[in-house]
Structure formats: C-alpha cells, structure tokens
Symmetry: C2
Subunit: 142 residues, 2 copies
DNA sequence: ATAGATGCAAAGAGTTTGCATAGGT
DNA sequence: ACCTATGCAAACTCTTTGCATCTAT
C-alpha cells in the first residue's frame, strides 16, 4: 500500500481546498507553501497514486493542460475561461447524449465542456486575475 | 500569403479524405505515401497555416492527442473509442447547455465528447484495428 | 528576384524514470 | 529492518524554432 507522507497530505489538501481542478504546476506551487522544496516529480507520482486509489480524478479539458480534482465531487462538467484559462466546476448535466452516437457504438461516459468568459473576467478584472498566483479559490459549488 | 506546395496539397488531401480527425503523426504517415520524406515540422507548420486560414480546425479531445479536421464539416461533436483510441465524428447536438453555467458567466462555445467502444471494436476486431496503419477511413457521415 | 516553404537538427515544455537517500510502517 | 517516497537529474515525447537550401510566385 501507500504511505502517508507530509507531501502527499499537503497535495491532497491543496486539491481539496481548491474549488476547481488544478494543474500539476498549480499544485506544486500551492504545496510549496506548506512543504517547501517539494519536487514536481513527487507531485506527478502522488497524483498517479491518488488516481489509482480513486481519491482524485484527472480532468482533461480540450485546449487546456490536464488538471486534477478530488473524486468525491460527483458527476459534473467544466467551464474554461478563455481569458484567465482557469477551469471551473459546473453542476448539472443534460440528457439524450447517447443518441448522438450511432446505434452500434457503445457509449460509456461523456464529457461536456463550456468555453467562455468567467464572472471575474467579465467584470473587467481579467488582467489582474491573469497575473495572480492563484491563491483565490473560485468554487462554483454552493 | 501562403504558397501552394505539393506537401501542403497532400496534407490537405489526407485530412479531407479521412472521415475522422487525424493527429500530426497520422497525417505525416499518410502523407508520406504521396510525398516521401515529408518532415513532421512541415506538417505542424502547414497545420498552423491552415488553421489561421480557417481551412481546418483543431479537435482537442480530453484524454487523446490533439488532432485536426477540415473546417467545412459544420457544428458536430466527437466520439473516442477507448479501445482503438480513434476519434470519430458525430452528427447532431443537444440543447440547454448554456444553462449549466452560472448566469454571470458568458458561454461562447461548447464541446461534447462521448467515450465508449466503436462498432469495429465491439465486433471483436479490436486488436487488428489497433495495430493497423490506419488506411481505413471510418467516417460516420452519411 | 523575392518571399515563403522545406528538412534537418537543436531547443523547449511537460511528464516519466533511475538512483541514492530519507522517511513511514 | 523493510519497503515506499522523495528530490534531483537524465530520459522521453510532443511541438516549436533556427538555419541553410529549395521552390512557388
């Protein structure tokens, strides 16, 4: 089995406290505050372990770098802001998706991604957000 | 403007004749048959030019390598076979997607991806397809 | 003749792996 | 004590860029 180390606890904490999926770089940067000098390789290895243990899930957005979030958030989809490039969680889903595939295709799961401009960036605060170190947590969960 | 060279014509032809989005590697491999010794860099540069000219569009599927297809296929979505990893075009769309985003978010476009097993792989021909050099064109367009 | 395109090789970004050391059990 | 995790650096993959040469206009 896997050991519980300080680095892994910190990584998991970072992912849980963020209200949105994070990239490995995001994670490393955040984690550095609690565990200085943490290596990127450690982040990648921890992510791989957590995925295998189904503690987190990868979120791969077309046009964005792969990112990760806790697995306990249930079925949901994502919104990516074209301005600040951040990924947000959405709630809800739509029906009738299986109908898009030919009948001899077997549909196992689906992904929906919305692209646009988030509330922050719409308010004209786009540039400052873009440069932020991203401590702010923009959860859309109620 | 851009010149019309043999390589570019071949690349565009390959994309048009394929019934599904292709990766740069796919394209290079196919194009080699008509233009031996074509370089990968040439493919990437041609793709960039074609995208700028809006002749082709990038198709970025979560969990798959980025691929490309002609821009004149209209609004549609994609299916990725978990077995052979190929990307197929779907026809049709669903409504009510904007409703998934908070009202202060501006939705500009969307992407829907279905994952599952394609007809070929369901028929038990998965392994041979997986190893194929992919000359076969699996269009879903009617 | 000139500007753009090609092929190669080198350079970058992102991710993975080998290895010696440190740390959890 | 044993086995796993860490950090570093090297290796790998995918994509981009520099440069000399070639080609379309």
């Amino acid at each position: 089995m896997s050991y519980s180390t300080r680095q892994r606890e910190v990584i998991l904490n970072v992912l849980r406290q963020a209200g949105r999926p994070l990239t490995p770089q995001d994670i490393r940067q955040q984690a550095s505050q609690d565990s200085a000098g943490i290596g990127l390789a450690t982040v990648y290895r921890a992510l791989k372990t957590f995925i295998a243990e189904e503690v987190i899930v990868p979120v791969e957005i077309p046009g964005a770098s792969p990112c990760y979030e806790p697995a306990d958030r249930g079925h949901h989809h994502h919104f990516i802001c074209q301005q600040c490039q951040r990924v947000f969680d959405l709630t809800g889903c739509v029906h009738g998706l299986e109908a898009l595939a030919p009948q001899d295709f077997c549909v196992q799961r689906h992904e929906i991604v919305l692209y646009g401009v988030c509330a922050c960036c719409t308010e004209g605060r786009g540039s400052e957000v873009e440069a932020s170190t991203d401590q702010d947590l923009h959860s859309l969960h109620k």
